[in-house]
């Protein structure tokens, strides 16, 4: 059974799209990530134009994040103050990102930029996560868990505009979360991702936030950033396909619920190790496509009128 996507302007198999949404939802539920970094390349792979994939996935992530935030909010795991500071950075970043995206689209480099950003970010984060989870697994085998210092002081703590974040038990410069928010906003607009895979490690390792509030807070911020990206793309490039977004939303929320239940049965280090492997595989595939000689050196784009 096929369904015609009015903005992407192609017909796709309904069950393929639902299946993809479900599978990515399952993974995002298991690993606690939005899944945009997997969904966008997959959509491009099945023939959805890259620009439509990026904008539509942003829209879908808004829905996934709302559903996630409500669950975390009920457990009191959202630092709204930190979320707001990240958000201000995020809004600025997504405006800049959409602007970059529009320029790149007009000079024909947007596909390259999307692929390159994926390779760089997925590669770095995948490898870091993999090393970290392998180390954690080895340490638990040996039974020697290194004690972390309660408070470590970096150059970050010397920055001005200090703010107190009670829920995160932090007293740090507001510039850090602003900067991280802005970076994630740019990535969100260019890569069609919520940015959780950058935000979560940054909040844990750079800001030193307690892990319990990290996911809820990052999801809270992602709702608004992806909503902003959706709006900006709808206005500047008309690439949000609401039909595609609805199909992805409906199947991914079901997948996410199943994934969450599966996730509780696996150990943390194993989960992170698996996710790292997945990230590295996607990264290698994209890197490979950039390097091998394409079937056709020529590609067509829409001209101005």
């Amino acid at each position: 059974m096929t369904v015609y996507l009015p903005i992407a302007e192609i017909s796709v198999n309904l069950f393929l799209i639902l299946g993809m949404g479900g599978a990515i939802g399952l993974l995002s539920g298991m690993f606690g990530v939005g899944g945009g970094f997997l969904m966008t390349p997959l959509l491009i792979f099945i023939g959805i134009p890259p620009a439509v994939s990026v904008a539509t996935v942003s829209n879908q992530i808004t829905a996934a994040s709302v559903s996630g935030v409500l669950a975390h909010w009920r457990r009191g795991n959202v630092d709204f103050k930190m979320g707001m500071v990240l958000l201000i950075g995020g809004i600025v970043g997504s405006v800049v990102g959409t602007w970059i995206f529009t320029i790149l689209k007009s000079i024909g480099q947007v596909d390259l930029m999307i692929s390159l950003s994926y390779v760089i970010f997925l590669g770095t984060i995948g490898i870091l996560m993999f090393i970290e989870s392998v180390n954690a697994l080895i340490n638990t085998r040996r039974g020697t868990v290194k004690r972390k210092k309660l408070h470590q002081h970096y150059w970050i703590h010397g920055l001005p505009f200090k703010m107190r974040f009670r829920k995160s038990k932090l007293y740090i410069s507001a510039l850090m979360p602003l900067g991280i928010g802005a970076l994630v906003g740019i990535l969100s607009a260019i890569m069609g991702v919520g940015g959780g895979f950058v935000m979560v490690p940054a909040m844990i390792y750079l800001l030193g936030m307690p892990t319990s509030v990290v996911i809820g807070t990052s999801l809270f911020q992602i709702i608004f950033v992806t909503a902003n990206v959706t709006l900006l793309h709808a206005i500047s490039t008309q690439t949000v396909d609401i039909m595609l977004a609805l199909l992805l939303m409906s199947s991914s929320v079901v997948g996410a619920q199943i994934g969450t239940r599966l996730g509780t049965k696996l150990r943390g280090e194993q989960l992170r190790g698996l996710l790292a492997l997945l990230v590295i595989i996607v990264c290698l595939k994209l890197a490979f496509d950039l390097v091998i000689t394409p079937d056709d050196l020529y590609s067509l784009g829409e001209g101005g009128h």
Binding site: I10, A71, Q109, T230, A234, V240, M243, P294, G303
Partner: protein, 259 residues
Amino acid sequence: MFSTVRKLTTNVAFFCAIALGWTTHGQAQSSLVTDISSHLISVTSDFTGTELLLFGAIQIADEEEGPNRGDVLVVVRGPEKNVIVRRKARVAGIWVNTEALEFERVPSFYALASNRPVEEIAAPDVLNRLRIGPSRLRFRVAKSEQVSLPFEEAIVRQKSRENLYSDQETAVYFLGDTLFRTTIAIPANVPVGDYIAEFYLFKDGELLGAQSSPLFIKKSGLGRQIYDFAYDYPALYGIAAIIVALIAGWLASAIFRKE
């Protein structure tokens, strides 16, 4: 002079060709009566492509001409759009778009059917003048004069791969001496817009007559409404998309909490 002819639109070229055909044959001669199965194709949300039936009859003016009834060519052209063709080159190990050429008035759809190979029907210069067949389409470079042939070939190659250009993939069948029919596949990814179906009648390598019919391919139903909404009210559309996402997220959370 030649360049101005080149710049004529395909439609103008088409009607010029008819006029030329008529002036070379002064007396009574064969002509065409044609129609297509549908003048309006609706692209609905379950559209998976369709087959267009094109048919007609040759009205033979001179009965003494014998069994040689002539040859029929059928062309369906889609709306013309500007197309940018980009060429990749290896830069620091990776493939990057380096060169780009913009072409004007490139048909977004082009299908040709004929009762026998077109090369046997008419001489190359006639086919070139009428732009019969994807490989004989000439695209106009928007800006400066450059070496554009590989870029033009790329357009035909890519469009053919997307099933938007087809060269004699279906034949024109004769039913008896004068009736003929052919089908042209309209794929699911067909661009919407104003199309034109052209019928050419050749005899002994000369164009005797031509007919054309308009054909409209339009989005309809929900898909049409979504598309119009997105382009006419982009800001409202964006806000609607966000509201849909918020409701969907809240619904999902509410449904699964009760379990």
